[in-house]
């Protein structure tokens, strides 16, 4: 099976992640054919999930289709890379009923357009007009600071690393100040002592 997949669909080998989990990266135009191949020739008949990962640095989405055998013992991860802007992907909702809701979810979260899916309405958000929230360029903290108010006294919505650095610097400064004060006090005490003598 792996050999056929390699020679017909993918450029690289099928990666065996676990004894029950295989992964293959293929070009987008061969996706449908591979899923059909696995569906027709083997028992990979259940679409478990569709997920999407945003690789903003490399400029693409990685769409992953998870397909399981009928006895649920083996899972195939079929990954394909698609562009990030105005993404249009063929829908699988005709072949797998459950793909409809998964694609609707991805459409809402990433803005991917699934052609052939007849219901891509908002799923969990309501009247959302900003960037689709799971895209990497959407900064949720910035959004929150802009739109919502925090109760006084909640100062932890800051970058942890910078904050640690700042606190450390503060501590250091405090220590040094303490040290200096102590030295000065010591010196003055010494002086007083000397004066007293």
């Amino acid at each position: 099976m792996f050999k056929t997949i390699k020679s017909n669909f993918a450029t690289a080998d099928v990666e065996v992640k676990r004894q029950d989990l295989y992964k293959v990266v293929i070009k987008y135009d061969r996706l449908s054919a591979l899923i059909d191949f696995l569906y027709n020739n083997y028992t990979y008949k259940i679409l478990n999930a569709i997920t999407c990962t945003d690789w903003i640095e490399e400029g693409h989405f990685a769409l992953t289709y998870l397909i399981t055998t009928e006895d649920r013992s083996n899972t195939f991860m079929i990954q394909t890379l698609v562009g990030r802007e105005d993404t249009k992907v063929e829908s699988f909702s005709k072949k797998f009923k459950q793909a409809q809701i998964m694609e609707r979810d991805l459409h809402e979260m990433y803005g991917i357009d699934f052609i052939g899916n007849d219901n891509l309405k908002e799923l969990s958000l309501e009247n959302w007009v900003h960037t689709p929230p799971l895209r990497r360029e959407f900064d949720t903290l910035e959004f929150v600071n802009e739109h919502l108010t925090f109760r006084e006294g909640r100062e932890d919505n800051v970058d942890v690393k910078a904050e640690t650095k700042r606190l450390r610097a503060l501590k250091k400064a405090q220590k040094e100040a303490d040290k200096k004060a102590k030295e000065a006090a010591d010196a003055s005490a010494l002086k007083e002592n000397e004066d007293g003598k």
């Binding site: 676990r18 259940i46 990962t53 990685a62 992953t64 998870l66 990497r136």
Partner: protein
């Protein structure tokens, strides 16, 4: 004469809904013509929040993804992180994890029992079941310090060793449960009024169930022995002796019988775990939290929750943060593809019954 359609919202504020969600029903009389599920009332953007946090920071929020049954989330998260980072955990922590997972499954089944009996107005059973579930929560509190959100199954092992005498208390609880579960049989499962309501309601055919990716009791209720614990054993389930109960009816009653039999199986598994619990370390050596990095790789892990297969997709990108975590709970497909079909032709009085028997849990649909 043309029939008069009424459109009503069943939920989100409704005593007969399984959480904060709603079903828009188009009715003629009390017969449902069309059902549309609406979720999103609980959307918190977990998948975004996880991307902003380091691995250990993210660990504290994943258990909140599914409220009635948080432990499968923790187990999945820990398993995915361990697989990506190449960590092998100790034998004792595997046993403890199985114990926690089974206790949580039992607790979730009690919650189902309460909901299912409440949906036919048999409130006494619900009250008992919630009180019995509290006994399990007490054990959790002793073990983890919290009743509901445990944050216990830590990547690399478990967070705390068992307190002294904990296993005896577990076995004491189990012997109580064995006696107690028979009472539920008498008053609820074998009650003629429940049979009247449940048999022949919400029937799912075997072919449909297989093709559409339904999981858990929906499959087992129509005769397919699907269980991640058997199909792709994780932790130590391969070494344990248990059965996957199935029924052939495919209706609400069949699913209730399956769930009830699963409670017995959970008790049976817990007995074995208590007996076999090995000595040893509970945590392997982990890198410092702030420097803990995941390689650029992805994986797919799943466990069997009380309502079916619960899976996580996780991708790392070589930094301290997780690049992507996708939650695929059992309810996603059930609440949409399945529920919307199942409710057509049913009556208004069956809605709560069917929803409870599918075990729909909205927080894991919208995350």
């Amino acid at each position: 004469m043309e029939n008069k359609h009424i459109t009503i919202f069943h939920g989100p504020q409704h005593p007969g809904i399984t959480g904060n969600m709603s079903v828009e029903l188009d009715l003629i009389g009390e017969t449902i013509q069309k059902a549309t599920t609406h979720v999103g009332y609980l959307h918190r953007g977990f998948e975004k929040l996880v991307e902003r946090r380091t691995v250990i920071q993210a660990f504290t929020i994943v258990c909140r993804i599914c409220v009635p049954e948080p432990d499968p989330n923790e187990a999945n998260f820990a398993a995915a992180v361990e697989e990506l980072a190449g960590i092998e955990i100790s034998e004792r922590s595997k046993y403890i994890r199985v114990m926690v997972l089974e206790l949580s499954r039992l607790a979730a089944q009690f919650l189902w029992l309460a909901g299912q009996s409440g949906s036919i107005g048999l409130y006494a059973v619900g009250q008992w079941a919630i009180a019995d579930r509290d006994l399990i929560l007490d054990l959790f509190e002793e073990l983890t310090g919290a009743r509901v959100y445990h944050m216990y199954i830590y990547p690399g092992g478990v967070r705390r060793d068992l307190p002294e005498g904990f296993l005896e208390r577990v076995s004491k609880l189990l012997s109580y449960m064995k006696k107690r579960l028979k009472d539920y049989d008498d008053i609820f499962i074998n009650n003629s009024s429940f049979k009247n309501r449940a048999i022949g309601v919400g029937i799912i055919s075997k072919e449909e169930a297989l093709a559409n990716g339904y999981v858990g009791q929906v499959l087992r209720g129509c005769g397919i022995a699907a269980d991640v614990r058997k199909d792709a054993p994780y932790l130590i389930y391969g070494d344990l002796d248990f059965e996957v109960p199935t029924e052939l009816g495919g209706d609400v009653y069949a699913r209730a019988l399956v769930r009830r039999a699963e409670m017995d199986q959970s008790v049976h598994i817990l007995e074995q775990v208590v007996e076999k619990m090995p000595e040893g370390e509970i945590m392997v050596k982990m890198p410092a939290h702030r420097k803990f990095k995941l390689p650029k790789d992805d994986t797919w892990v799943k466990v069997e929750s009380a309502r079916g297969e619960f899976a996580y997709y996780m991708a790392g990108d070589g930094t301290e943060k997780i690049r992507r975590m996708q939650v695929r709970g059992p309810s996603l497909v059930h609440a949409y593809t399945l529920l919307e079909n199942l409710l057509v032709g049913a009556e208004l009085s069956d809605v709560a019954l069917i929803m409870n028997s599918l075990g729909i849990c909205p927080p894991e649909i919208e995350r």
